[in-house]
Assembly symmetry: C2
């Protein structure tokens, strides 16, 4: 029988625990504590219940957490063979095909189980039914198992817990008879869009879509097709390859052309969207989520025959990643009149000039046509963007959504410290001019200084002693420096401190240093009113509001130059990894993201 | 009129200062303080006087040191043009050809003077008459000027002072009518031997002599020729290409064949020598000094018609540097029965197998012939080796010679720390697994730990974040580790501490590490009696005895496995740099080294 929140909220403790029996394997203490801490009015949503249960585990002792993990069976392990699994585990392992392994696969899984248990002391946990609920293949399971076997225990333990929460989520969905249909629609679109990939990558099953390749143009065509299917009133591909869909608000309809002709909107619109290009060997959700989520919102409005007061303009930006040309944010730059005319003359690695590429793609390839894309801010309420977090924060907090406070300002340098290359054996410690030791001090100072202030980060990502020898004291050491902060003031203070310390280190050690600034981008703080709208939308789902900065740049950073903007982040699975095939979301999180977007639309 | 030590030692203060007038430019305070601190019995040698004067400057205040430097004229500067230089400076700048610069050279020197003064605030000082006293060319002067212009002020200031001491040394030699004829002989031989260089290097004026190349064999032939000229009784090239010269002691002469036939020695001999191969683009003195110094000692004995009680066997080892084959210490290994038979089958980078190379060079190329080279320790008193320091210690202390206490034991690792590559913008500081930050901690710990104990050194020479990106937190960082100490116990304690700290760092930061030991060599402490003989020889020159370990490996390390050994180091100029064309010695230092070797021979 299908469970409802009303029934659950009405239950006493034994009833509550009993109703949630089997959600967390052999661990009734989780439901018990969630009951004790439940809101006075009961759980407002299934999402709130899921978060409450996960929070109990996150706050439990290490012993309790390990007990929970160890309460789980091994994958295709002895318990499966002896048929002593719980009903839920039996079903999950059967759906993953683990009950029908070949002898080789079975032997491989037994070895992985043994190695994993020897390394960590607990069984490997994987939500085998997968994010869309359609199951991982045995090959995918074995690949994931092998990868996680080499993780650090402090990383792997919480990752196991997160898989346990995902297993619990799927079991709860079954209990409540819930199917995240909107999330599934976005999932299916993202899977379908990922079938287009550039030559050289497609063959290896890798996703790469760079500016105006065949795969890129196929994506654009696919998006226009889907937008039309969703019921957008106007759908087009603009002069820089952006896919633009407009769904009018009822403000506009007075001016509508009769008889199905082109509708002309004169009311103010909400602008939203994100990019459909990818990095090389990237993920399926970076950018695309921010196009597909508002698309499904429009589809739902259209299905219901509804229009909102304001029009909705969804843009699939053609270029954000700067992979093919040094023209990052090409698509959104055009909308704010910042398309650099010199970009047209740029050649890619194969010598293909952008202007020629555009012409070959059937675009006008003139600055006049590109300048015409600039939006009049007076015609727009503002810009919102949903995006996968691309970081670990929401994942670690067991939160599906987070509200962005600011897109960080950044400053980047390439540097080199020069000391004196001398003999590692014959030069006493006190007489060295070790360039690498100075960079080591810098790295630790950047770490310490950035850690001391919230919402500031600093990274030395590139590091090399050129032509270093095992027996030569580093005479040179090259490094990069990437400093980011939620405000320009915080960024500049970090920058000044780091540069001062660098100078001190070099002065004290008798070294010289060169530092070349390669980038400086201003911070783009979220518009307070729009940020508040996202916060209300998240609250309406029964979820706690977590505010966080965006460390990465996004199209919203460009639109910020013309109109108010605010972003919503959706949790990334797999430790939040992005720009990587392991980038992952769940259909349940996406469902919540769509519903947050719908709530924001309703609030306008 | 030529000055003598007796006259100088007999003088009162004004007389002493007056006699040394012009040695240090416009700075009588140096002679005044040296007088105040002179030994009761007066200066025992010119070397002692030179060291005393340099010590006054080394211990002077920074203001006094800068005053001394600023008392010097610019090279080819206004003072030269207006003919207001001291007589000494006029002579030196004239000899260097600076009074006959082309207009272009003069303009270049004026620009260098201006740039240098702007950077450092003092004039560029260069002992232009050069180590052999024969003057640097204008081209060499301009090259050196350009190189030192980019040095750190804390490096450049003492380097200027050392050039001032060298200028003073040459002026003192003039005053005392001294010519370092034995040092000059070694200098001339080293220059002459450096005319042989391997193909590809010779054309660029670079010195490279690797195992059994044409240049290498030419060096061997040249050495045998010079040894015969010196009066060695037996001279040969052995089965591994070592050049061996024997000068019999009078113990042996009973068994001498009459009428100029081959003399057979049956008494005990002193074994000495060093290597004549070089690293790629190396210096002229590394190794070769240790062959040429005893050669000139034998020449002097032979010229005087003298024999000592014991025979002297000088070996020019054919291979020490391990450049062409992975067979470091090949030459000395053969003498102690440690020639690895598998070396014969090794191919070099061009596929040339050592056995074939030996055969082509006319060597027997059999293990039997190589095994026959093993020396019977009972026939030898011990092994001594003189070598350029290849480090900065003696140079910084203004000491021509130093006595080696031990050839350091070493242990080497290649390591890699693995963390998690994640987005530099989106990963908060507290959630990072930064592999490079962990290596940074290791580098600073190695520096701190090695600095805390005398005669221990530790170096991270190789350092790299593979495929690092400016905006990605390092997920991997590779490094090398080179740990050395005068004793195996100190080395092992350092090793244990460093490895423990590395494990702690990785544990605390949640990282994994691999560490591969690539080398471990036992320390070779000097034989106390032989070390004492070197100390007595240095004392006899009127110089303070400074004891120091050898951080680099030397042939003596191999001979240590068969007999007592002890080494004498000679100061390297140019900050002690070695394995580099800038490697340099002075004829005066070499003269002292020869005289120390003679004193050691006389003491046997």
């Amino acid at each position: 029988m299908t469970l409802t929140l009303d029934v659950l909220n009405a239950a006493d403790e034994p009833g509550f625990v009993s109703l949630l029996d089997g959600v967390y394997e052999h661990s009734p203490w989780i439901a018990q504590r969630a009951f004790a801490q439940r809101p006075a009015a009961g759980f407002p949503s299934l999402a709130a219940l899921k978060h409450a249960l996960a929070s109990v585990v996150r706050k439990a002792s290490l012993t309790e957490q390990l007990g929970l993990i160890r309460a789980h069976p091994e994958l295709a392990g002895k318990a499966m063979v002896s048929q002593s699994l719980t009903a839920e585990s039996t079903d999950e392992q059967r759906r993953a095909g683990l009950t029908h392994c070949s002898p080789e696969e079975f032997a491989q899984l037994q070895q992985l189980n043994a190695d994993y248990n020897a390394r960590f002391g607990w069984p490997f946990i994987l939500a085998v039914r997968g994010p869309r609920g359609n199951g991982l293949s045995r090959r995918q399971i074995i690949e994931t198992f092998t990868r996680r076997l080499s993780a650090h225990p402090d990383v792997e333990r919480p990752e196991c817990l997160r898989h346990i929460h995902r297993i619990a989520e799927i079991r709860l969905n079954d209990k409540f008879g819930i199917t995240p249909t909107l999330g599934n629609q976005v999932w299916d679109w993202a899977e379908s869009l990922a079938r287009f990939s550039d030559p050289g990558f497609a063959e290896q099953g890798q996703l790469t879509v760079t500016y105006l390749t065949d795969a890129h143009r196929a994506c654009a065509e696919q998006l226009t097709q889907w937008m039309r299917d969703c019921g957008f009133d106007e759908v087009s591909i603009d002069a820089v390859g952006n896919v633009v869909g407009v769904y009018h608000g009822f403000d506009d309809l007075e001016d509508a052309a009769p008889g199905g002709g082109s509708l002309r909107s004169h009311g103010r619109r909400l602008l939203t969207g994100s990019h459909y290009d990818t990095v090389r060997n990237g993920g399926k959700y970076d950018g695309r989520l921010g196009i597909l989520v508002p698309m499904v919102c429009v589809r739902e409005l259209h299905r219901q025959g509804r229009r909102l007061k304001h029009g909705i303009e969804v843009v699939g930006f053609s270029e954000e990643e700067g992979q093919r040309y040094k023209a990052t944010f090409l698509g959104s730059s055009a909308l704010v009149g910042r398309f650099d005319p010199t970009w047209l003359d740029q050649a890619d690695a194969d010598g293909v000039v952008m202007r020629d590429l555009m012409a070959a793609a059937g675009l006008p390839a003139t600055m006049a046509s590109i300048q015409a894309l600039q939006r009049d801010p007076a015609r727009y309420l503002g810009f919102v963007e949903v995006h996968i977090e691309q970081g670990p924060v929401l994942n670690e907090m067991d939160l599906p959504l987070g509200v962005v406070t600011s897109i960080n300002g950044s400053i980047r340098y390439l540097g080199e410290i020069r000391g004196l290359a001398s003999h590692a054996g014959t030069t006493p410690m006190g007489r060295r001019r070790d360039a690498a030791a100075a960079v080591a001090e810098l790295i630790l100072y950047v770490e310490e200084r950035a850690s001391a202030v919230p919402e500031v980060v600093g990274t030395v990502g590139q590091l090399q002693v050129p032509a270093g020898s095992i027996n030569v004291i580093p005479g040179r050491c090259r490094f990069s420096l990437d400093l980011r902060a939620t405000t320009d003031a915080a960024r500049d203070a970090l920058d000044a401190d780091v540069r001062q310390r660098l100078a001190e280190i070099c002065e004290r050690r008798g070294l010289s240093v060169t530092l070349e600034r390669t980038e400086a981008a201003a911070a783009a703080p979220s518009d307070p009113q729009w940020q508040q709208r996202w916060e209300s939308a998240v609250s309406a789902l029964g979820l706690p509001v977590h505010r966080l900065p965006s460390g990465a740049g996004h199209d919203a950073m460009k639109l910020h130059q013309a109109m108010p903007q605010a972003m919503l982040f959706q949790r990334g699975m797999n430790l939040g990894i992005s720009h990587n095939p392991l980038e992952s979301v769940t259909n349940d999180d996406t469902e919540l993201c769509v519903r947050a977007f719908q709530a924001l639309l309703e609030s306008l």
